[in-house]
């Protein structure tokens, strides 16, 4: 009985100290991070259940109610083609969240792989890869994304590819620096001594121990990816009409600013709140995952 209760206590302690639970516990204490999670949650629900939540078809034009101001019937008003803005913003959440997640996944997969290779093997591989990253970083993000889309052509997929490529250097740098730090540690040497191969060491021992900065960077990068994609949409190089993308909606409403300011206002607020959500969560995660702050509260 005593033995059993001690095992339960040990288990409880082990659970409490687990990284995930500890992070969640610390995040819950951070008011701003909670706001971030709530905002992301809101947009995630809108994105997933858009069909059920949106009151109207987002691309159906209604010539009898063109540029209607916000009212009970259309809470966010209608646009120049009589489309319900609230419905377009709800469906726009799906587009923006998809862009954020897909493009960051592209950056993550390539960035982590390249960072692991550069940091682990060092030497010529490292120099070569990092010089390529330097070149990519030599062009401002928006400009690089614009240049890539200029070649690939406008469209939703190409936007995701362009925004994704732009994020690769950031991930590569972060992973590389943490690999360099970890690869000399004793447990990696031990793994090597028992005969573990390069791939196993890189993935099982190094990557798993450099997850914290990668998680933080991913969250913050989703925010900038949403912003960049909206910028491309606004410039006419991103998602194409009639797809309800927030940047495109802003661009459509530009010329009607004086008569129908709501067409521009609401998509902008949506972009800002979703980006804010990811920025708040990213900041919170950075604090929660920082080993120097761990256990301090």
């Amino acid at each position: 009985m005593t033995r059993l209760s001690r095992t339960a206590a040990e288990r409880k302690r082990a659970r409490r100290s687990s990284l995930l639970l500890d992070t969640v516990r610390r995040l819950r204490k951070n008011g701003l991070a909670v706001v971030g999670v709530l905002l992301i949650g809101l947009f995630a629900v809108l994105a997933i259940f858009a069909e059920q939540i949106a009151p109207y078809d987002p691309i159906k034009q209604d010539w009898t109610s063109v540029q209607k101001a916000p009212s009970g019937e259309h809470p966010f008003g209608t646009d120049e083609l009589g489309r319900d803005l609230l419905s377009r913003i709800i469906f726009g959440a799906r587009v923006s969240m998809t862009i954020g997640i897909v493009s960051v996944s592209i950056g993550l997969v390539f960035g982590v792989a390249l960072g692991l290779l550069a940091g682990y093997f060092g030497g010529i591989v490292d120099s070569l890869l990092m010089r390529v990253m330097d070149i990519m970083l030599a062009v401002p993000y928006v400009l690089l994304a614009i240049a890539i889309v200029a070649i690939l052509g406008p469209g939703l997929w190409n936007t995701m590819i362009a925004v994704g490529i732009v994020t690769i250097p950031q991930f590569t740098r972060i992973v590389r620096s943490s690999v360099i730090e970890i690869k000399t540690s004793t447990y990696v040497q031990a793994a090597r001594a028992v005969g573990a191969g390069h791939a196993r060491i890189m993935v099982r021992h190094i990557l798993t121990n450099s997850l914290s900065p990668i998680i933080v960077q991913s969250t913050l990068t989703i925010a900038s990816a949403i912003l960049n994609a909206a910028a491309l949409g606004f410039l006419g190089l991103g998602a194409q009409p009639p797809r309800p993308e927030w940047g495109v909606m802003l661009s459509d409403g530009r010329l009607l600013l004086l008569v129908s300011p709501w067409i521009v206002t609401f998509p902008g607020v949506a972009i800002m709140l979703s980006v804010l959500g990811f920025n708040l969560l990213g900041d919170g995660l950075r604090d929660a995952l920082d080993p120097r702050l761990r256990g301090s509260r």
Binding site: I135, A138, V139, P140, I146, A150, L258, G268, I271, L280
Partner: protein
């Protein structure tokens, strides 16, 4: 210091060369026939052949790259297909507008950002601190183009006190000496033009400066907080120095290094953000020109524009690095 500067300048060469390769590859990756993409579907085979010949599209990539590189060194950046003028001439016309806007945005963002950052750190966990940090967080999440449009709505349409686009009102006379209108107006002693130019500059500068302002605010605050905990700050306080002196002279000077890095790095970001801001405010700079070139598939112009912005970005980053030694004598380069 001189040795370090030379070494850094040499280190720039491979990066610039890489950037050149990347930009030259632009055309290589265009799906289909680049000449047809640039000129459109309804042109004669002769016209296509002339363009192919002029751009060296009939030759292998490596030859074309060699020719492009050679021409660049001779000061020939190619000719814009859309405008039929040398790209370097167009760049020279456009650069002052973009730099003037970026500089104005930099000044706005640094002054406001550093001020809020210092106040927030000085009164940590006060209402002031929370307000400052909230502004910074919202600023970082704000789409520049949306903020621009909202400002136009409020200050140009609802309460029309500021012009909504361009650099100068039509009819206002200004002799262009440098292309930097503020400077031109001052040099020629043209008061009315100066007022008009500044009025045109206000909204684009604020819109473009918002994100850097937010970043600078956060950096200044955290850097100040770190310095304010140091022993020499306590010593300064113990000596009975006024709080203002301690914060500004003892703390801020030492907190400046990371702030300068952020300010410098953001100048490059501004050059990128300028594309969006210029579009919203019809600002006749590099950004609008580059975008028009992209829409018109004027690839030589796109190459030139991207190359110029990339090179400017790299050089600014180098200047930021070198300025450390000037701010902090403890930083030594060897």
């Amino acid at each position: 210091m001189l040795k370090y500067t030379i070494r850094r300048l040499i280190a720039i060469i491979p990066v610039l060369l890489g950037l050149l390769v990347l930009i030259s590859l632009l055309i290589e990756f265009i799906p289909g026939d680049p000449a047809r993409v640039m000129l459109g579907q309804h042109v004669s085979e002769e016209a296509l052949e002339i363009l192919r010949e002029r751009m060296g599209l009939n030759r292998p990539f490596i030859v074309r790259f060699g020719i492009y590189l050679g021409n660049l060194f001779r000061g020939d950046w190619g000719t814009s297909i859309r405008e039929g003028r040398p790209i370097l001439t167009i760049l020279a016309e456009r650069i002052p507008a973009t730099f003037e806007l970026s500089l104005a945005a930099m000044i706005v963002s640094s002054v406001v950002g550093i001020a809020i950052g210092i106040l927030s750190a000085y009164r940590q966990y006060s209402v002031l601190d929370y307000t400052g940090m909230f502004i910074a967080l919202v600023g970082i999440s704000m789409p520049v183009f949306w903020l621009g449009l909202m400002m136009i709505y409020v200050f140009s349409l609802v309460v029309p006190i500021l012009p909504f686009g361009g650099r100068l009102t039509t009819g206002v006379a200004l002799n262009s000496v440098t292309g930097f209108y503020v400077l031109d107006a001052i040099v020629t002693g043209n008061g009315p033009a100066l007022g008009d130019v500044l009025k045109h500059l206000v909204m684009p500068a604020i819109a473009l400066g918002t994100i850097p302002m937010a970043i600078i605010t956060r950096m200044t605050r955290s850097s100040m907080l770190e310095v304010l905990r140091q022993d020499y700050i306590n010593t300064a306080r113990a000596k009975g120095l006024a709080s203002r002196v301690v914060v500004l002279r003892h703390a801020f000077k030492n907190a400046l290094i990371p702030v300068v890095t952020v300010v410098g790095l953001n100048f490059g970001v501004l050059l990128g953000g300028a594309i969006l801001t210029e579009t919203v405010f019809a600002w006749p700079g590099l950004g609008t020109w580059l975008l028009d070139s992209i829409y018109a598939r004027d690839y030589p112009a796109v190459q030139g524009g991207v190359l110029f912005i990339g090179a400017a970005f790299i050089l600014i980053n180098l200047l930021v690095d070198l300025s450390y030694a000037w701010i902090n004598p403890k930083v030594k380069y060897d």
